[in-house]
Symmetry: C2
Subunit: 308 residues, 2 copies
Amino acid sequence: MTDLSPDTPALCVVGTVAFDDIETPSGTREGILGGSATYFSVAASQFARVGLVGVVGEDFPAKYRKVLEGHDVDLGGLEVAAGGKTFHWAGKYEGDMDQAETLETNLNVLESFAPTLPESFRSSPYVFLANTEPNIQMSVLDQLTDPRLVVMDTMNLWIDIARERLLEVIARVDGLMINDAEAKALSGEDNLIAAGRAMLECGPRFVIVKKGEHGSFLFSRKRLFALPSYPLDVVVDPTGAGDSFAGGVMGFLAGEHAQRVDDVCNAMLYGTAVASFTVSDFSLDVLGEIDRGTLEERADELRRFVRP
Amino acid sequence: MTDLSPDTPALCVVGTVAFDDIETPSGTREGILGGSATYFSVAASQFARVGLVGVVGEDFPAKYRKVLEGHDVDLGGLEVAAGGKTFHWAGKYEGDMDQAETLETNLNVLESFAPTLPESFRSSPYVFLANTEPNIQMSVLDQLTDPRLVVMDTMNLWIDIARERLLEVIARVDGLMINDAEAKALSGEDNLIAAGRAMLECGPRFVIVKKGEHGSFLFSRKRLFALPSYPLDVVVDPTGAGDSFAGGVMGFLAGEHAQRVDDVCNAMLYGTAVASFTVSDFSLDVLGEIDRGTLEERADELRRFVRP
């Protein structure tokens, strides 16, 4: 591994920054700060310095930039597309809030997103490729200098329309982190355990399946590990839960300079802890009110919660 | 507690004995031995002597009676209804086999089931009321002599049509063991944690929610505990998983003379272990091939599986 310049963030994330309109049984919000890279980086910032790579439009307000900078996120990789509008997503959750119903998606500046990593980001040892088109993920991989741990997400759309290219990307990463429906779609297996094992055959050293309220599941050649979600009797807004989880996992690993499978299992406690705060309010508000100590306490609660 | 006569089983179960027709992606079986009390008692027999209370018709064959007796299940409470036919259920599982589709239900002798416990069963210290009409469950409670631990199951039908009576039964037991859909229907809560807490308010000391492939969840005033299911990449027939789980939990507790909440959490490992064998073949076949040592090994595997 190359020596890091002081400007190199320990962890680099490439993903979306968005304006979200959200409707849940707890209320409605419009134009709130969202996006995979946003949730990821703010969650991860509890553990390590994060560099964010993404694109916004000229309509992206200074106050949202300040939120991210307030969490010490390096915005050197946040492109502002001239004349463009920021990605906008509108969604609704009902009942047990297991799944979002998408009401509207305006890709806007995302349509021509072709990320160029700042020079200082290319040697980041920890890298997370949030869900984007597989060619974008591949181009990021090509810009990296000897990363220690690269983990990626994806979505059903790419599994359906860009499967071969997606598999090429998956073959090049250390870890895959997707939800259960995506795991079944990608592997063609109805059984989640069979799905996890099949995905290991695609190349990654580990696969983490996110199961929402049912927690998360790690598959590796060495061990399997299941972790429930933190028990919450009120979920205000599930948006960003998966990306916060990923941020907690990757942030913890980057902060600890760790990458073994046992470390990843331990990191899942912290991902689960931070995601449990994310969903207890809209947008990122609550993540500004917690600190590392709060997360250690919640991780300890989780350890007790799963001990027979 | 009264002293037990040598004839008194440590554990008594009241439930159904059935002929099942089952269709799963792995195959089709007709007229196989099934029913809640059957699965429960065979699973529990790994840990303690079980007395089964139920009813069959004159068509119930000697070979099925021998299966149960082969597991040392006391059939002194198994009534043979003159001229009657045994309860018959036909069901089908598809895809991830999360839910059975009921193709046919013939209650037959169950329609007039009014269990009378043999004298020797009334002082059983551990009692499980499998899913039956709440008035039947109440009549069993009235026949018991100072039980140490009574746990019950129920189903959506009774939640819908006999809610008040069901709540009266629930108020009299130590533990409630139902699935997640039933927990939400019974409590009126979409959130499972809120549902579990609401059910504790109905009286039981603990509530165990069975979540199928997602494992099980214990609620009590003292602690919460979540346990995943054992990771299986092939499930042949999920029928009886919940009743085997209950049998493992109650059998373990009866065998250990234990009833504290911490004991119940530990017992859930054994319930999960025995259920994982049940679903790996049709009917009870595989439960005849395992022993206590096999279950201890699987419980150890589960302990490693959930350790961060």
